[in-house]
Symmetry: C2
Subunit: 264 residues, 2 copies
DNA sequence: TATAAAGTTTATTAATATTAAACTACTATT
DNA sequence: AATAGTAGTTTAATATTAATAAACTTTATA
């Protein structure tokens, strides 16, 4: 189904991304961490170096990220960065008002991605950093807020395959989820009631582009007990997130050129 | 010798880098340009998308660069950018004084890379933009200026395999080249007398790091006829490049941490 | 709505990536 | 300085896998 040698190659690049690769990584270390045989890994790395994505230092033999990879940011930045920059003050505002963790999310194909986030400022805080939410469209407020406003075709593609059960509250039944999405569409916002992480409650609002398609979402995560113990707290969060989502949506009123990105 | 599926994968990413991929690229376009069969390309692209390096828009089915690729720049930037920024005014100075094209080069393993460049301001100018000089260590002033000051072991690795003959003047004989490198080491600078491009004469000076190893080089390219018709012109260029190379080298006096990068 | 074009899936087979083993180069230790 | 040990490289055999064609599905077009 997937091409193994490509998979290994990209896992290797991931490893460079996620470890301290600034001082180089040895063949042995790559093999140890990723479970490769040294000869196969050597063939692979030679090819990657040939193409300039990595390079091998002549003396130490260690591998480094090649400058070619830097060029990608120049091409990608153009669009996404201006949106993130535009959104930043509004994300900050939610963080200021609530003190809770705030996430700006979007999607690429069927993958949920985090564009930026702010940590909670509270002593008791939800600490989930840049969690890997690749397959958590169905279990997060960020994900559901976007999902609910997509075409049925897009929803189907994103949800195909079994829905991972992250907690006891995760909705893994398709028809249940379908009802949930309808409710979200009606209410205009999504919640995550311990569906992704136990003890964490999130509120998410969609951000629409100039064609009224969901392009991104903002969410605020707080400890569940705060929500249950103080009814007004949820209202406060909802109002703050809703306001920011609307403001961020104004980005598309002026700047966005038709057909630039997401057509889903 | 090299792994084909990896090679194709990275060629595909290159294609995204070098074409206008902002509006997405279709499977057909990828196949047409790179000579792939659609089924094989589809398998490949699915795998790349799985890993988040590309993504496929749900509606248009076109492929886009994934935000994961953007993250690499954040990791790579730390070192290289500050050097390039430091060097910029000195590159600019050569360009101001001579009006000719100026290149700041470095190397990754055995590959010569261009860190930055300035175009000629003259009406008759050497127009070679970001030429692909991957395998031109032996044929450029930038390359030879660094090569001459490397260890014999490093020289050997870089020069192994046949030396490509770019012009009639390209030195493709190893012992001839060895003499040339000795001369460069003695003189302190390299020239490229139509060895890479006909009609183009270049002067290159090495830039040394805090361990007196060649880390980068600056070069200035001008039309050959200017050099031959005016003896003083070459002196002017040499002085300017020499000065800037020395100044850029001062970068390592303060900022560089030991073992950060190149150990060659 | 029909036709064409593009994208996806499948099962087969031809090609290639993986492997172990031999080899080389480098490090550390006595 | 010699040796043992470690890491990296190369090779050639073969077992796996990627490429293929063909069937199929979806999307676009006229």
């Amino acid at each position: 189904m997937s091409v193994k040698s490509i998979s290994k190659t990209l896992d290797t690049l991931d490893y460079f991304l996620n470890s301290n690769s600034i001082k180089g990584i040895s063949l042995k270390e790559i093999c140890d961490h990723l479970g490769f045989k040294k000869s196969a890994a050597h063939h692979m790395l030679s090819t990657i170096c040939d193409k300039g994505y990595l390079y091998q230092d002549l003396k130490s033999k260690k591998y480094f990220l090649g400058s070619k990879l830097k060029k990608f940011s120049e091409v990608i930045d153009l669009n996404a960065n201006s949106f993130i920059n535009f959104a930043e003050p509004f994300i900050k505002k939610i963080n200021d008002v609530t003190g809770e963790a705030v996430h700006l999310a979007s999607f690429e194909g069927t993958r949920l991605i985090t564009l930026s986030m702010l940590e909670s400022t509270h002593p008791v805080r939800v600490d989930h950093g840049f969690l890997n939410k690749d397959n958590a469209f169905h279990a997060t407020a960020s994900g559901k807020a976007m999902l609910a406003f997509m075409s049925e075709a897009s929803q189907k593609k994103i949800l195909k395959g079994k829905l991972e059960k992250f907690t006891n509250h995760t909705i893994i039944n398709l028809s249940q989820l379908s009802n949930e999405l309808k409710r979200i569409k009606k209410n205009g916002f999504a919640t995550d009631d311990e569906e992704f992480q136990p003890g964490v409650y999130c509120v998410g609002y969609p951000i629409f582009d100039d064609e009224q398609k969901p392009f991104a979402s903002v969410s605020c995560s707080s400890p569940k007990f705060k929500i249950t113990s103080d009814k007004k707290y949820l209202e406060k969060i909802k109002n703050s997130v809703k306001f920011s989502a609307l403001e961020i949506g104004k980005y598309f009123k002026k700047t966005r050129k038709k057909g630039d990105k997401h057509a889903a």
